[in-house]
């Protein structure tokens, strides 16, 4: 019994929070319990951040309430090196060249203080598993079926369109390693159809261009396929990654070479009021690691170079991008640790260069960053820290600084607080507005040229966060509260007009800077054991916007106010485990859609009303996992939205119905 309780405690400690209040670490075990095969899906299931998605493929979080909704001011870091997965106004998380099965841990960082050398206001750090000794082969195959097909009614007057299967997704890794080195080659494939009825209507015209002479999409039954159908609106994601590492003393040096390709990614863009199809190719090379320079001192470093190309592979997409974005950079920092003190001093440089057929007023930016910090345990139970960081670009600079404290009240109780202020240069936002202002004409060519009002060279966010955590024999609790103050924030506002023929929306965008506002967040997590073989996790995230400028306030209404989740995990046997989770996400209101509230999209015989308000949703998910043949084979069966509620998070977005996912994994070592 005592052993089981200790196991529960160990799980709790590793899956909830590190000592730094703004970091939440998710381990391999928790990822395994979700059973998800896709990165964005897995992250959405475990992230402490509120999320809205228009298609159940694109992940759009608001890290810690400290980034503007759907902003690109958060970043993705793979094994210490940044990965550029932005595409104008979306982050294509699935483009990261890693499979869920390769991930050892995920760290969610919000209200960061610049210690990492970047200026992102939220960060997802992915750490992959280094291959163990000898040869190993890992493989996974997953497929999902979403309910809602017509069934026999296909032959009656009640016929409805078919709903495409999701996947199959597959991953394979072959690795060889020893105590001091490893190398692995991995590949990943994912397919996702964007065929929700409403989306299908919008992409119809664009997809017509894929097949010259054919004016509309083929009927849905022809789209239904277990394998990729290039004629349908579906993304085909493939990647190949070579990783290798060597150990030097107690540190590792890891290198990654990767190619990641997304064929026909249809993501909904508010700026275009419709799905934007892109072919994306990401090439990435990175090196990261650390080496000791003394008993108490080490140097940590990372360097990476990437090239991201937006293109029209088969000359059929309705958008002519001609867009290449190259990033190159490196960071290094010296870390010195004694029994009571930890100090660091770091510097980095990043260069971003863009190529386009348009003549840009400025196609290259160089950012130089410096950061320093110290953390000292001033008494047996009290730790204080301070940090300072700065980013320089041309004639501008932005600063960040923070003070942190941690008080171990008792062995099991910790109270922490942090005050952070971060500035970010406008030119660091690698988004559509920056490049349109510099001459990129894609929006203007479609009559959607934006207007800019009160834009500023930099914005700032100040955060005050207090967190308390307590561990007991049967469980624990963590409560964190934060207030964020935004200065000179930029928001996007539109007044959509409706195009009934395409079920699309159209409005030029007003890019409004100089906005001030506040958000407050409450994050409550409670977990407890339920006997020797089960545990329950309760989480409640509440966000409130207050005392803000009108446009700032309007934009934040599109973020759910609260999310409640209760998950019950059980493992009656070593080879059998399961999870049941109930999640409620509150309603949202999308002010930009108020001008068309109540219009009806006619698609495939359906009448779909467009509403500015998206109702709150409650979903019940359940999964069962079974290990076979000594754990070499694992089967997951995941039922999502068992109650078949109308789960959607966006006025123009897809609706997810009852979905069954089956996944088979194998590991040979």
């Amino acid at each position: 019994m005592r052993r089981a309780l200790l196991l529960v405690l160990a799980l709790v400690v590793t899956t909830t929070s590190s000592a730094r209040a703004a970091r939440v670490t998710i381990t391999r075990a928790t990822l395994d319990a979700t059973g998800q095969s896709r990165l964005a899906e897995a992250i959405a299931r475990v992230a402490p951040w509120l999320n809205t998605t228009s298609d159940f493929y694109t992940y759009s979080p608001t890290p810690g309430g400290a980034t503007m909704p759907r902003a690109l001011s958060w970043s993705v870091v793979l094994d210490g090196a940044p990965v550029d997965v932005s595409v104008f106004d979306a982050m294509h998380l699935e483009l990261v060249p890693v499979a869920v099965g390769e991930i050892d841990s995920i760290v969610f960082v919000s209200a960061e203080d610049g210690l990492d050398g970047s200026s992102a206001r939220g960060r997802i750090e992915l750490y992959t598993t280094r291959a163990g000794s000898g040869w190993s082969v890992d493989a996974a195959l997953a497929a999902a079926s979403q309910s809602g097909d017509p069934g026999p009614y296909a032959y009656t007057a009640q016929a409805t369109p078919n709903v495409d299967a999701i996947g199959p997704d597959a991953a394979l890794r072959i690795a060889h390693g020893s105590r001091n080195w490893y190398a692995s080659l991995s590949g990943r494939l994912a397919q996702h159809p964007f065929t929700d009825t409403e989306i299908r209507e919008r992409v119809d015209a664009q997809m017509g261009a894929l097949r010259p002479g054919v004016e509309s999409l083929p009927p849905n039954p022809d789209l239904t396929s277990w394998f990729y159908n290039a004629d349908g609106p579906a993304v085909l994601r493939t990647s190949a990654t070579l990783r290798a590492g060597v150990r030097s003393g107690s540190h590792w040096h890891d290198a990654t070479l990767a190619l990641s390709d997304a064929h026909h990614y249809f993501h909904f863009s508010e700026a275009f009021g419709s799905e934007v199809p892109t072919d994306q190719m990401l090439s990435l090379a990175s090196l990261s690691g650390a080496f000791a320079t003394g008993a108490r001192t080490r140097i940590e470093y990372s360097a990476s170079a990437s090239e991201k190309e937006l293109r029209d592979t088969d000359g059929a997409l309705a958008f002519d991008y001609e867009w290449e974005s190259r990033h190159a950079g490196g960071n290094a920092r010296v870390v010195h640790e004694t029994g009571r003190t930890r100090a660091h001093l770091g510097a980095g440089i990043e260069q971003r260069t863009v190529s386009s057929t348009d003549t840009l007023t400025d196609d290259s930016d160089t950012f130089v960053r410096a950061n320093a910090g110290v953390e000292r345990r001033v008494s047996r139970s009290f730790t204080l820290g301070a940090s300072l960081a700065s980013t320089f670009a041309d004639d501008d600079n932005a600063i960040a600084g923070g003070v942190t404290s941690r008080w171990v009240v008792r062995d099991a109780d910790t109270l922490s607080a942090r005050v952070v202020y971060r500035q970010r240069l406008a030119v660091e936002d690698d988004n559509l507005w920056l490049w349109t202002a510099r001459g990129y004409s894609m929006l203007a060519d479609r009559g959607l040229a934006p207007t800019y009002e009160n834009t500023t060279a930099r914005s700032g966010v100040g955060t005050v966060e207090v967190a308390w955590s307590s561990l007991g024999m049967l469980g624990g609790i963590r409560v964190a509260g934060a207030i964020n103050r935004f200065d000179d924030a930029t928001v996007e506002r539109r007044s959509y007009a409706f195009e009934p023929a395409a079920c699309a929306f159209e409005s030029p965008t007003r890019v409004i800077g100089g906005q001030q506002g506040h958000t407050g967040m409450l994050d409550l997590r409670v977990w407890h054991g339920l006997g020797d073989h089960s545990r329950a996790d309760f989480s409640f995230v509440y966000l409130e916007e207050f005392n803000s400028d009108a446009d700032f306030s309007a934009v934040w209404r599109s973020v759910p106010r609260h999310q409640i989740r209760y998950a019950l995990s059980f493992w009656p046997l070593p080879t059998w485990s399961g999870r049941v989770a109930v999640t409620h996400v509150s309603s949202t209101h999308w002010v930009d859609y108020e001008t068309i509230d109540g219009v009806v999209c006619l698609s495939d015989g359906f009448e779909i009303p467009i509403r500015a308000r998206v109702d709150g949703v409650t979903s019940l998910d359940a999964s069962i996992r079974h290990g076979m043949f000594g754990g070499r084979w694992v089967a997951d069966v995941i039922a999502r939205n068992i109650l078949d509620d109308d789960v959607r998070y966006h006025p123009a977005g897809a609706s997810m119905s009852f979905t069954l996912i089956v996944q088979l994994r194998t590991n040979w070592n």
């Binding site: 079926s145 309910s147 809602g148 097909d149 017509p150 069934g151 026999p152 009614y153 296909a154 032959y155 009656t156 009640q158 409805t160 039954p221 022809d222 239904t224 009656p572 046997l573 080879t575 409650t618 019940l620 079974h626 076979m628 043949f629 069966v637 039922a639 068992i642 109650l643 078949d644 509620d645 119905s657 009852f658 069954l660």
Partner: protein, 198 residues
């Protein structure tokens, strides 16, 4: 959550609690030590929207169950034919349901056992038309809740009567209640089944 959904969910919860309560009572079975193979004749009881276009046909249920650590695991296949109603322009079809799930039973009086079961699977419809496969075949997810009564009639043989409510998650949901009657035979399970399932 709509009232109907809430009601259905309540039924699920009640069934699950009843099943768990039944399964709490210890019995002499060891996990995976036997297979119970059943064959039953079955027919649809109700007359919903589906049956406005197709005659409710008769069919057969075949299932295999094996003891689990609590209750039993089962795999069921149900095949039934549905002819088009006179005057309705739809093709005849064969319905195939493949369902995996969990069940629990308990002796209540003398040799009579009662049990409950819940399962998840797919329903396939094979249409009697001369078309390509994507039009001849439709399939969708289904869930089932059921109850059954069994009575031993000879060594290792039982008579089984079952009632099963099946909900298939097509856009217009299809709810059908099946009644079935047949025999079940208990065998010793080969070791490899235990190896896989453990």
């Amino acid at each position: 959550m709509r009232p109907m959904r809430a009601l259905l969910f309540s039924v699920w919860l009640l069934s699950a609690h009843a099943a768990i309560a039944v399964a709490q009572v210890p019995d002499a079975k060891r996990p995976f030590d036997r297979l119970v193979v059943g064959a039953r004749a079955t027919g649809a009881l109700d007359r919903g929207d589906f049956h406005e276009s197709w005659e409710p046909g008769f069919g057969v249920e075949l299932d295999v169950a094996t003891p689990f650590y609590a209750g039993d695991l089962f795999l069921l296949t149900r095949v039934s034919g549905n002819g088009a109603r006179d005057g309705v322009d739809v093709p005849d079809l064969t319905t195939i349901a493949i369902v995996a799930g969990w069940s629990a039973s308990r002796r209540i009086a003398g040799p009579v056992h009662v049990g409950v079961n819940a399962g998840l699977g797919i329903t396939e419809w094979l249409f009697d038309v001369d078309e390509r496969e994507s039009v001849r075949l439709e399939m969708e997810l289904c869930t089932e809740l059921g109850a059954r009564v069994s009575l031993p009639v000879a060594d290792a043989w039982d008579i089984v009567a079952a009632a099963t409510w099946q909900a298939t998650s097509t856009y217009h949901r299809i709810d059908i209640t099946y009644l079935s009657l047949g025999l079940a035979r208990t065998f010793g399970a080969p070791d490899w089944i235990g190896s896989v399932l453990e």
